[in-house]
């Protein structure tokens, strides 16, 4: 077997790779943005002193952390459309239901982990900071805005970067419900050309570019905004 990248870089297979890469990166980005917003929301609701909402958050986070992402994808793709209102399911099916449900499950999955990262950042702030802010007459919103949050997000940053990495790699599982992202395209090129090494090495390389970019910029961000205590 000789190496021949030209066979899989011709028009059709090259298009497969490009569209796969675009799907992977945009799915990861869309889920990341939504997950950060939802994660903040969950962390905030979790801190409200009201038992039903607190329990809901605990079970919600525990479910998404205990069940494999692949199973979560299956639940959304195979089971939930049966329970959702018909009109809603039909409007999704007119678009691209695979991508939609992959986005929903990746978002919920990541948001659960992120909410825990955000919460542990908040918990790591010494109580003296809260007391000091109140003592100088800040109200709750001002205290959060000017004292707590600037410290908390710096503490949460390293785990959040790691979570972005896990999310990016997690998009590969969307191929199991038929989303035509990178690993899905790797398999279809391989089955059509029997050039496993060429297809897999290119796709692995694209994944590595993505992950190494996240690690590199993440580390720089963490180094730049690290809390200087002393």
């Amino acid at each position: 077997m000789t190496l021949d990248y030209s066979a899989i870089l011709e028009d059709r297979y090259f298009d497969y790779l490009v569209s796969g890469a675009i799907t992977t990166f945009s799915l990861a980005l869309a889920a990341w943005v939504a997950a950060i917003i939802l994660g903040l929301l969950i962390a905030a609701v979790r801190n409200i002193d009201f038992l039903p909402t607190r329990w809901f958050c605990i079970v919600f986070v525990d479910y998404h952390r205990s069940v494999p992402l692949l199973v979560q994808l299956f639940v959304w793709y195979f089971a939930l459309p049966e329970l959702l209102p018909q009109a809603f399911t039909q409007s999704i099916n007119r678009g691209n239901p695979e991508v939609f449900f992959a986005w929903v499950s990746l978002t919920l999955y990541s948001a659960s982990y992120m909410s825990e990262d955000i919460r542990s950042g908040l918990r790591a702030i010494p109580p003296g900071q809260f007391e000091a802010a109140r003592t100088i007459g800040m109200n709750y919103a001002k205290m959060m805005r000017w004292v707590i949050f600037p410290q908390a997000w710096r503490l949460s940053l390293p785990p959040l970067v790691n979570q972005a990495l896990i999310l990016f790699k997690g998009t590969s599982l969307a191929s199991a419900i038929g989303v035509a992202e990178l690993s899905y395209q790797a398999r279809s090129i391989e089955t059509q050309t029997f050039r496993a090494f060429e297809a897999f090495s290119l796709v692995t390389l694209i994944y590595m570019v993505g992950t190494i970019m996240i690690m590199f910029f993440g580390d720089r961000l963490v180094a730049r905004y690290a809390l200087k205590r002393g």
Partner: protein, 233 residues
Amino acid sequence: MIELLEQYGRLLLVGHYPNGPLGGLAMTILTSLLCLAICFPIATLLALARTHGNKTLARFYTGYIYFVRSMPLLMLIFWIYYFLPYVLPFSLSPFVTIVLAITIFSSAYLAEVIRAAIEALPKGQYDAASALGFRYWQTTFLIVLPQALTNCIPGLVSQFILIIKETSLGYIITFNELTYVAHELNKILLVKPVEIFTILAISYFVLCSGLSQLGGQLERRIARGRLSNDSDQ
């Protein structure tokens, strides 16, 4: 749902065993245990490579960690399952593929846990060992590892949970574990996806959530032990 469990519960639990191959939840748990058992010594060696002080070994360690962190587990499974048969005279079974892929992956994550535990040991332990005239291997096996690995037990439990969740990827290469069995059942019955996938999700939830409660308890117990040790000194 109860009816479904009565009829197919056994299939989901043990597959066709004892009249056919083992599968289902039992397969998931046994495979995960096997992976953990193989990972543990490899991860310990990797962690020692990092903490030994040798620059080449440390570089190898860093390279390995970055390699694993930079690629989805699914791609590694593809490499092993679909590429290796092109260059090897035999092909690997789905079971061997999953065990191999998860071992390569989890060793790296577990090595980070063990490394952190080794580095967290107070420096006095090393001073005491060298005062007693211990060599590297004596220090490692009699002083460092017994303490570091005990402190790692909660980390080992969370690694076990991660491995259980990762075995679900066996579905993609038709490995007979819980997710695959449930998916096949759904394909045969066709009309009961809600019940089947609810049962599937609940099984993983009960198993992994329960294990993580256990891990939390172990962590508290070990922390207590450490506190009382400190006050003894």
